[in-house]
């Protein structure tokens, strides 16, 4: 998470259509701007391609979580019933694999789900109530019907000229906001 001493400038721009937004995003990215992001009420088809994003890391996290869960669930049952204190339960073997299946499965799912959920939040850096883009009142439409683009300008770059560029790309509204300082 970025905590700069010198507050950075951000440009937020609304586009009339998703297509226009994606187009603009790609052009700007090829123009060398890295910190570009789209803000839309629902996921846009192929947005990742236009933004040049890598494949999500969530599946990997899920896999690890699942494996950890499954193994620990199984080992727990074996250790507690089969090793630490084996008791004669109606002449059944203290630890029997078939009886261990349900809990092993549940543990797998539970751990996987937890890691997916919290993994995703972590990847997105949530919870994060504040973001510079929120400083633009108009930006509020990003979650309901607006298609927005946000650009974090590098140090010392000229906001005016940048915003000019953006409006050229067909933005219906362009604003420059300054990041808050802690």
């Amino acid at each position: 998470m970025e905590t700069a001493i010198v507050p950075r400038n951000w440009i937020v721009a609304e586009f009339p259509t998703p297509a226009g937004l994606l187009e603009a995003a790609q052009t700007l990215r090829e123009g060398g701007l890295t910190d570009i992001d789209t803000h839309t009420p629902y996921p846009l088809h192929g947005a990742e391609k236009f933004l040049g994003l890598k494949r999500s890391r969530v599946p990997l996290i899920a896999l690890i979580g699942g494996i950890v869960g499954g193994v620990s669930g199984l080992v727990m049952q074996w250790w507690m019933n089969g090793y630490d204190w084996p008791l004669n339960i109606g002449n059944r073997p203290p630890f029997s694999a078939p009886a261990a299946i349900p809990i092993t499965f549940e543990c797998t799912v539970l751990f996987a789900a937890l890691s997916i959920f919290f993994g995703t939040l972590a990847l997105s850096g949530f919870p994060r109530p504040y973001h510079p883009a929120f400083d633009a009142e108009e930006f509020r439409s990003h979650s309901t019907h607006g298609f927005w683009l946000s650009i974090a300008l590098p140090e010392g770059s000229d906001a005016q000229n940048a915003s000019g560029k953006v409006s050229e790309l067909g933005a219906s509204l362009v604003k420059v906001v300054q990041e808050q300082v802690e």
Partner: protein, 1032 residues
Amino acid sequence: MSDSRFPLPVLGDEKSSASVEPEVVSAPQSEATTVPDHGYHKSYWRSLEQKLNPEKYKSLNAREFPPNYFDVPKGVDRREFIGLLGASMALAGLTACSEKPVEPILAYTKNPEHMVVGDPLHYATAWSLRGVGTGLLVTAREGRPVKVEGNPEHPVNKGSTGAYDQALTISLYDPKRGQHVRRTASATKPGDIVTASWRTLREQLVTQGAEWAKDGGEGLRFLMEPSSSPSGGDLREKVLKRFPKAKFYAHAQLNHDNAIQGAELAFGTALHPSYALEDADVVVALDADLLEPLPENLGATRGWGERRSELSKLNRVYAIESRLSITGASADQRLRLKPSEIEGFARALLAELGGSVAGLNGLSAQPGRTLSDTEQKWVKAIARDLAGKPSRSLVAVGETQPPVVHAIAYAINSALGNVGTTLQLHPVLTHEKYSSVGTWYPELKEDVDAGKVKALVITAWNPVYASPFDLDVAGLIKKVPLSIYLGSHDDETAKVATWYLPAQHTLETWGDTRAVDGTASIIQPLIRPLFDGQSEHDLLSAFLDAPEQTAYDRLRAFWSGKVGLGFDAKWETWLSTGLIDGQTVPAQRPALNARGLSQALATAPAQGSGVELAFVPDYRVFDGRFANVTWLQEMPDPITKLTWDNAAMMSPGMAKKLGVDRESVIAISVNGQTLEAPVLPVPGYADDFIALPVGYGRELFPSGLPLGGVLGNPVNGGTGFNAYALQTSAALGFVSGAQVKAAGKTYDLALTQDHWTMEGREVSFSQTLAEFKKEPAVEESRGPLPTLLAPVVYEGYQWAMGVDTNRCTGCSACVVACVAENNIPVVGKHQIHRFNREMHWMRIDRYFAGDENEPEVINQPMMCQHCEAAPCEYVCPVNATTTSDEGLNEMVYNRCIGTRYCSNNCPYKVRRFNYLHWNGEKPALEQMAMNPDVTVRARGVMEKCTYCVQRIERTRIKARTEGRPIKEGEIVTACQQACPTHAISFGTLSDQNSETLAWHKDERRYDVLHELNTRPRTAYLMRVTNPNPELA
């Protein structure tokens, strides 16, 4: 009970008796039930109460009625209550979050001899019912009698007991027992009642005694409980010496008079029969309940059991009876006749035998009616059978049958040479030969009306209630200026007497009694009288002009007088073995008095007409004296499985005819009296016949409590109806010509078994000997079944049980024994009727098979089977029930969270759940009866039979500290110990010569629900009957 000698009583004269006050060094294992309390003092009950709370004491005494259990002396109250609170709190886990209060520990100030704190003490004693004694062995824990068992040394009962004996402890701790001496200003004004003391009464008697002595005690009358106590007899003589004109009567509503009169008819002398069934190959029971575990029957019952185990020794029992008794249920063949028809049958049998058996041919016996074909068939078959077994057969007759029937039986027996072998005839040992109401009432009434009677002393149990409606006993008593009633409860009779004295319980008192064969035993107390109780002897001795003696001194004085030299040594032996030597009287072999008998036979038998009623003893309250004994009230009736009530029992056919069903109420009218009673149809009953168990309908013990235990006190008793209200002095046993009609009402009956047949399932097995020989039904139901589970090897002891359904009579002594041993709570009628929540760890399933009129009855005692592959265990989520290294199915209360899954998955449904805090509701006094070796279960935990694991562990520790293995038969479970027929065996399968192993290998062995492959450790032996092929 491995050692044959039991410790001497620690209770002796006043001085040493201080030491057995039930004060407790609270050993860890006894905390659950006993938490010690502040100071004890010499006399534990009264003076402590006075000391701690004189105000309260005054108010107690001022109260009109005896205090209920909330008012039991503070000592017990707090102690026991906190004990339970503590237990439940600990179980409730509250201790985890709250500081446990620091508990006080109290040591004895002076250690009583023999007492090892934490170890039980066993005292040999005895008690008597209707003057017939049973040898007992009572276990005391820190001075509290907690368990009654039979005295193995006793020649008659040989260690076995009946349900009544087993319930003695709880009747000792009965909160409703009479607690205070009470005097009415005059019987005519029962209103103003003053509490008084035994002392005042005694002084009054001493002073008045002098006057009465002047005219030889003209106005003195004694109405006594039948008693065979030698010292009691001595007292009577002394009283009579002082008051030659005084008169002694005895009263018992259920009595032996008919049998004794029968003997007078047959032999010319009054004799009292007992039976040696171990020698009887053929037994004919004419309306006789030989196997009812009464003191006089325990010997016979054991003998019968011996003949049912080995098929080679199998005897044959014919029951010709009106109701279905446990004898009839256990018989090989039954013929149902109305009570009045029995005589005709007996006469026909006599006539039939007259032909073949010498000695009977002189007698001409007219049946007085034409016998049905079946009856004739039976008469012939039985006659042939009897004649074929001279001196090894027996004809027995029930108490309610008229003397002549008994006489006929005596005649047959003596002709067959059974007298002295299977039929033992003893001189009548009770001081008064007869005790039925007819033998004393007319004479006494005459005297009372003539104003002769100045004082009437009543120690007979509650004659006002237990007497026929046509005799106004209450009025009689009221007419007498001074009437003194000594009784266990402040009951109907107490209400009309001028003085009421609480009677000491047999476990509180010194005395002696004699068994049916004359064997005498000392009755020794295990605890100081809990209340103001006096014994009959105390009362009688007040009529002597002699200085007052303690019961102990009086008893010693009497016996030392009899023995003379070396008394002290003898005395100690008597106390430790529970037997007084040289008191047994030899069985008589009188000659048959043919003339007397034929005179009796000359008069044709009375013919019954219409519906007949029989007034039968109840298997739970007997004649009513056990009405407030909760353990017995909750014990299901052996035949009907009815609890807390009595019912009008009749044949299903008759019920159909009347258009009534179970629980619908009928109105029964006879002799101008009408009684409403709920119907309970029972298979095997004679038609046009109703059996009315006596002893219920005591308004003194009101049923139930608000909410019937849904939210509060679980104990809620039924009351039933009073059958004496239909009884006339003319016909005590049975009466005919009753009018019966449906009353259009219903009444709830709490039965513990609703379905009476096996519904076509192979649950319990029964075959005739022939069938069994051809093809045993049980071969499919035993032995290993294929399984995927790897076998588990058990090393060391392998506890197991055997149950012989062929020996089991269903008498239910074991059920009560289990309740007593394992602190099993009583839940009351409502909980049983509405929720089936009875807590008995052991129940006796009773199945009827075959025709509803000629049913075959199979009893199947059912308790935890201790399965090796237990279905209950693998479903418990918290490991609260497991299999021990010795194969016990363990139940751990403090781990149990009460999911009840185990109970659901138990195919035998032997697990019981504490749905409410039953024990929290237990009256403080009853809590004294708890066994400190067994956890008092709290609300919300599952429980079940443990094979009496507390006994196993105690014995194991004893054996291991002595460095030896546990001996065969050293561990005896409570049920096994009580069983009069030895239908239960317990031991380890690892011991090659253990009886249990033998039973497990028996040809009759089967496992219940064997197909489930639960591998139970409890094996059953199937029922094999021996019917007469001619009658098949």
